[in-house]
Symmetry: none
Subunit: 230 residues, 2 copies
Amino acid sequence: MAATILLVEDEPGIQELVKFNLAQGGHAVMCADSAEQAVGMVRDTLPDLVLLDWMLPGMSGIELAKKFRADTRMKHVPIIMLTARGDERDKVLGLETGADDYITKPFSPRELSARIKAVLRRRAPQMTEDKVEIRGLSLDPVSHRVTGDGTPVELGPTEFRLLHFMMTHPERVYSRAQLLDHVWGDHVFVEERTVDVHIRRLRLALEPTRHENLIDTVRGAGYRLSTQPA
Amino acid sequence: MAATILLVEDEPGIQELVKFNLAQGGHAVMCADSAEQAVGMVRDTLPDLVLLDWMLPGMSGIELAKKFRADTRMKHVPIIMLTARGDERDKVLGLETGADDYITKPFSPRELSARIKAVLRRRAPQMTEDKVEIRGLSLDPVSHRVTGDGTPVELGPTEFRLLHFMMTHPERVYSRAQLLDHVWGDHVFVEERTVDVHIRRLRLALEPTRHENLIDTVRGAGYRLSTQPA
DNA sequence: CAAGCTTATGACAAAACTGTGACAGCCGAT
DNA sequence: ATCGGCTGTCACAGTTTTGTCATAAGCTTG
C-alpha cells in the first residue's frame, strides 16, 4: 500500500500539511513547487501517483496533466487534482483531461488517504508479460497465443488485447468507455457500441472451447470477466 | 445546512459555549458528557457530525473514535476532534484514527462553524468502492455483484444503486425525496411513489435469500435498512 | 369500527440496453 | 489489381428496466 507520491503544490503551507499526512500514511513523498520541476521529476522517477494542484504559477494544472498524458512513459501515472472548492467546470475539465480523481480543498486527511487508496487500488493489476490463466483459458502475451483447455483459439489483434486486459483485471466491471481507454487507447474516436461488437466477436471466438460465457454482461454498467462459472 | 450535531465534552463551561454557538448556527445539538453516553447516542440518533473532545474521563477520545469507525452504522459519521492547544502527538493520532478534522482549543466560534461547514459539505460524496456486508448480504461495487449468504442476487441497475446506497447508510431513515436525490440524482423528474416500487422490486429480488425484510418501512417517514433482524 | 392516510402490489407501455447480422473501408499479402 | 482478414458503424430485433397508475391492504385516530 505504500507508494511513491509526487506532490505538485506551490503553497508551502498546504505542501507541508499534505506531506505530513502522506508520510503518516507510510508513503514516500516528493515535492515540486512548479510545473517545470514536476515534469522533470515525473519523467525521472516515475512516481506511483501525482497529486496535482490546480492553480500553479506558470503552467496551469490542466496543461501539466495534458503534458503527462501525451508522453508515452508518463501516460499511465495516476493523477489526483487538487481544486479550489466547488468549481464544477474545473472538475469536468480536470477529469476530461485525464485526471483520475479530484479533491476539492479544503479536504480532510481521511478523504485524501481514501482517494489515494482508491486510485492506487484501481490501478493495481498492471498488464504484464506474464501468462494468464482463468477457468482453463490461458493467454500468453509473449507468444501471443490463446488456448482454451489445450485447443488453440484464433483471435484478431483487438480481440486479443481486449481479452488480455480483461483477464488481467477479472471480477471487475468496466464500462464501454473504460474499455475503450484501456484497450483501444485514450485518444481514439470510436463509438462506444463498438465495444459490444468486439465483445461479441470475442465470445464467438471462444465458443469452440466452451468459454463463451467467460465474459458477463452487466446491464447498465458494462462487461466483466468472471472467474466463477455462471 | 442545518444539521444534527453531537457534542461530546465533559467540561460544562465549554459544553455550554459550544452548544450556544451551534444553536446560533441553526444546528440541532445534543450533548454527551461521557464516552459511554456518546456511543449510545450516536448509535441511537446517528447525528450528522460528532464534535469529540480529546480528553474525556474514562475512555479517551481516540478510543471512542476507533469504536465509531469499527461499527458499520457509525462508520460514516464525520468526526471533528477538539484538542488542547498544540499537542502535535494528539493531532497525529487523531487523524490516523479517522477524525475528519481537528480544532485546537481555544477556538473562535467562527473557526468552529467554518470547520463544521467544510466537513458537512464534503460529507455527501462518500460512495466508496469498498465491499459492504450486512446480515450476510454482501455487495461489491467493483465486481457489481450481490450475494445473499453465498447465493447470487439479480438486480437491475437502479435496484443496485439503491441497495448500495442503503447499505452504506444503514440504520438511517431516508425519505423518498432523499432517496431520489441520492440514488436517482438531484435533477431528475420522477414521482416519489416510484421509490416505493423500486423498494418492492428490491425486496422481491432479495426474497430468494431470505433478506426480504432487510429494508424496513418507516411509516410517514421513509425507508431504512436495518442491521438488526426485526 | 369507519374514515382518512400511507404503503404494497400487479399490470402496463414507453424507454433504454444489448445482441446480431450485414456492410464498406482499410491494408497487407498475393 | 485482387483477395481476405480486421475494424468501426449501422439498423433492427429481442429483452430488460423503468416510471406510473389504479387498486387492494394496512395503520392510526377518533
